[in-house]
Symmetry: C2
Subunit: 584 residues, 2 copies
């Protein structure tokens, strides 16, 4: 992967043909003036260039050097400052931000692709701006006009960064235990005191200020409220004042993401400002979390794409062994070997379907935000809700799979740091854990999104998949038999769970991960049939052949995995919950 | 896992009840005097103590500090020397070694359990002695009496270490490309010149000499011969002479195993001695490789056991969230959550079945070596051949799965270095790669062991599994329906491959990994039914209940995965091989 080569053809195909973005953009007034396919592709080419030329070069060295913590100050690895400067000057931090406050107002369909590129070249670097974008989104949705006027332009420009302060040692997946306190002051502000851990980008030396969104409790309340707490005080004119009682206690030593500062944050009577209503902080934070959950899914996708490119390049270059079908060479590229091909086809078919999922989720976000049709907005919001936990969990699980499999393609070289692939394994591993573990995502998916409305959204979504499949050319519909059976079984299985969930309160928690996996592997089957069918209309014959070949591999080899997950779902919670705690 | 607590109950149960080791040892003359169950358990307790008190403490610090390379010398992390001294003085290096040369002559059934403990506390440290034991085995099997007299006692005592020098930059999985040369000398010795890479324990500061087993080519030959090449020359009286032209070029910077030196070795007219016949070096090396392959499988098992203990302990201690079934606590241990239980039951059921596989392979090695019945020896040798690639690949694949899943149980803490579980992920990852990648193992399994003799050994082995199942109490036989169906399908599928392999030369390479996985998941089903059935005879009711519960989980949730792998096997090579190389 030297240099990074962005999958621009695949991106254009998804936008133009699979999800018909130009038509969507055209009919949405806020986007019609902003972007068309040519603009989109020019933007993607620019992003590809920036990531290749400016960001990729800092990835390996940043992993070796890591973030340092000296005299209370976080120092990012060499080159991060320069790369951030270029990134910021390109306007990428506010790419999908609100134009009213200086954002570029770009659609998320495009944003996910720009994000993918960033994560393909450097997981650690990309996180800094990702959190800023998420914080800006939450502030824009729930903040007062004063706060928005003062903070949003600096966040969108990248001059200041955002951070998300939720976790405490005793409050991780379960935030009820948060102990950070907020005391109301006469001027309407609050004094925040407490400690937060695992704060990505809690501090750094890239931006002049860090804007923390902090979950804390008001005296006497067990509910959480959300506060904006700047590292440095901000004067009314936007200029920076003294330190606001915000300090870094330490930084974590981690398996990977070594260029990203993971901070213990201490708030000592730090001045904060309420975002949204008191005691409704979790709902506000979810605006940021949902954004971040999709972004973290894209971390998995970007890493998978890097793995795909690294392993494919290596398999074409590395000479070892002879083709089983015969060869006159001294040694053939390992691409000739069936097992190497199996690994590459697995990585690539999962990655390309993953990109379709990311763009699909981005499209639903755009429709939910920009559509003028209230029913369309509402439906898209339902689909965003359904797809967000799947995108977060399934893209990151398959992202790690892809990196580990790519490392296997490299053989012994894959274990050596200089080769680079092992860094992606380490860097992307966290994506399955943070922003709500993938187990939490699955429980959200099955418990809230699928059974929470008695399968209404699931049925609506699957009906749409079936309608899309029915619109394809007949020879492609013929390939969808097993997929259609799986979609019906997903509904049947969810129906059984929905009926049983009251009598078996632990059922959803016990089978959720497998249900999400069964859904994910089925959904990828849908994307593949659709992509392969539509690719046949492309002028480039080899593009069409490639998508047909990848689709065939996916349907024959990987789609059947959905059945194993469904069998685990249908086996229920008995064997999980009836084992006495003393037997563990 | 502070401190490490060895699974002695499980080990005793496997030896005594599942594999009936005492009866086997009693009837094999060379073992009857050496070991009985009481001795075995005393030895395991001693090994547990040593690993807990002496080896475990160096694991984390050794990962942080790593091996250093200064002025051509390899320096192991602090504490390695002292730990090695204790390990050596306990006689553990020559534990299964030939008593004629100072080995302890212990059965491999016991050896695998001692090895497991070592890998549960420190992957990197344990490798040094593992390579020595393997080198001694190959030397004992193929070396001249002079070489054996001179080298074996020092290897078994641990005073000198062994290393295995095969790989070169252009010769990894395919050793035809080896360029290291051997020139015959008048005195019957050879001068060896060339470079080898990825040499585990190529040098260190733990032993006074390193004995390299080097694959090289004689002038004019394309075949490989095996040579013993000591780092320091050895005088006839066993005293050490000057350097033998053996030097370390550099050490690798790796994802993990940082306490283990992975060396580039340079041989510059180094004096070597032929082991076995000229041009038959690969066959001799395979004695060592088969030993190492099982040992590396045990690396996966030991890591899985560490993961199991770490995750279980954490799940009992960590308070977060409330039980879905209701709770009056402020927060419950996360063990109450269905998804956490699912992960723990997955880790534990895979690890305990993995231990059964390791002991089974050890038993077959013992029978092949010690039985006085030629037919029994031959059959056991066939079963060793069949089980070795499965033990190497399946134990290491499931080992990584277990470590990653355990890391997930920890949530965010699992990504932090101090927690320790992430080190096991990094350390054990290499086990899927070295000693022949797991892809190579699978091709060996399906191509040589399963179809190589037209399924004769596979049929024989599966018939034995069925006979063992038929001897169980009826209620346990009733649970074996799906397993028996899978065993028949494994035979049918292998039969189809065997018939098609000539017309489809790439078939075996394309489906081998899935065939091995289908076999492995089925075999674990067999072990679980057998273990659970026999556990019912134990006096400890909770032990019996636990094994029944783990067995139930395995059969309901994990055994069905074999069907997915079989479906991939049966989908064949078409979708893998018919994709043109230009489409990648």
């Amino acid at each position: 992967m030297y240099p990074y080569s962005a999958p621009l053809n695949e991106m254009r195909f998804l936008l133009d043909k699979v999800f018909k973005a130009p038509a969507i953009w055209q009919r949405l007034p806020q986007l019609a003036e902003t972007v068309d396919l040519d603009t989109a592709m020019a933007i993607l080419e620019e992003a590809a260039k920036l990531n290749r030329d400016i960001v990729q070069p800092i990835n390996r060295a940043g992993d070796e050097q890591g973030v340092r913590f000296e005299d209370g100050t976080v120092i990012t690895p060499d080159g991060y400052k320069e790369a951030y400067q270029a990134f910021m000057e390109g306007g990428w931090v506010g790419f999908c931000g609100d134009p009213e406050f200086g954002g570029m107002g770009m659609p998320k369909m495009l944003g996910v692709l720009v994000d993918e590129m960033g994560y393909s070249v450097c997981n650690a670097f990309n996180l800094y701006s990702s959190l800023t974008a998420g914080a800006a989104l939450a502030l824009n949705a729930h903040g007062s006009d004063e706060l928005k006027d003062l903070y949003l332009p600096k966040l969108y420009s990248g001059e200041w960064a955002g951070a998300m302060d939720m976790t405490e040692p005793q409050a991780g997946s379960d935030l009820r235990g948060v102990r950070t306190r907020a005391e109301p002051q006469d001027d309407g502000s609050f004094l925040i005191s407490g400690s937060k851990i695992f704060i990505t980008g809690g501090d750094q030396d890239l931006t002049s200020n860090v804007v923390h969104l902090v979950l804390a409790k008001l005296a006497g309340s067990q509910s959480l409220s959300l506060f904006l707490v700047p590292k440095l005080k901000v004067n009314d004119d936007g200029s920076l004042g003294e330190n606001n009682g915000v300090s870094v206690g330490s930084i974590e030593h981690k398996m990977g993401l070594k260029g990203s500062a993971t901070c213990v944050m201490n708030f000592d009577n730090a001045r904060g400002f309420l975002i949204g209503e008191a005691d409704r902080g979790l709902a506000c934070m979810f605006t940021m979390m949902n954004y971040e959950r999709l972004a973290i899914g894209i971390q998995g996708l970007g890493s998978a794409q890097a793995a795909s490119q690294l392993a494919t390049d290596y398999a074409k270059e590395r000479l070892q062994g002879l083709a089983a079908t015969g060869s006159n060479a001294a040694a053939d590229p390992i691409l000739v070997h069936g097992d190497v091909r199996r690994m590459l086809l697995t990585i690539r078919s999962l990655t390309e379907a993953g990109r379709a999922l990311a763009v699909d989720a981005g499209m639903q976000l755009d429709l939910a935000k920009f559509s003028e049709d209230e029913a369309e907005r509402a439906k898209a919001a339902r689909f965003v809700g359904l797809l967000t936990p799947v995108a977060k969990a399934f893209l990151t699980d398959r992202g790690l799979d892809a990196c580990i499999m790519a490392q296997q393609v490299f053989g012994g070289a894959g274990y050596i740091r200089e080769t680079g692939i092992e860094q992606f394994v380490r860097d992307t591993r966290i994506a399955q854990i943070y922003e709500g573990t993938n187990g939490i995502q699955a429980i959200d998916f099955l418990g809230r999104k699928v059974t929470g409305d008695n399968l209404a959204t699931l049925n609506e979504f699957i009906a749409e998949l079936k309608a899309e499949l029915a619109a394809l050319a007949p020879e492609w519909q013929d390939k969808a038999g097993e997929l259609l059976a799986l979609l019906d079984e997903l509904i049947a299985s969810a129906g059984n769970i929905n009926e049983a969930k009251r009598e078996q309160p632990a059922l959803i928690n016990s089978v959720a991960v497998d249900y999400l996996d069964a859904f994910g592997f089925s959904l990828y089957g849908y994307y593949w049939i659709k992509m392969a069918a539509l690719a046949q209309e492309e002028a480039d014959a080899s593009f069409a052949q490639q998508k047909a070949a990848f689709c065939r591999f996916y349907l024959e080899k990987l789609l059947p995995r959905a059945r194993w997950h469904l069998s685990q779902v249908n086996a229920g919670a008995g064997c999980v919950m009836e084992t006495g705690a003393e037997l563990f």
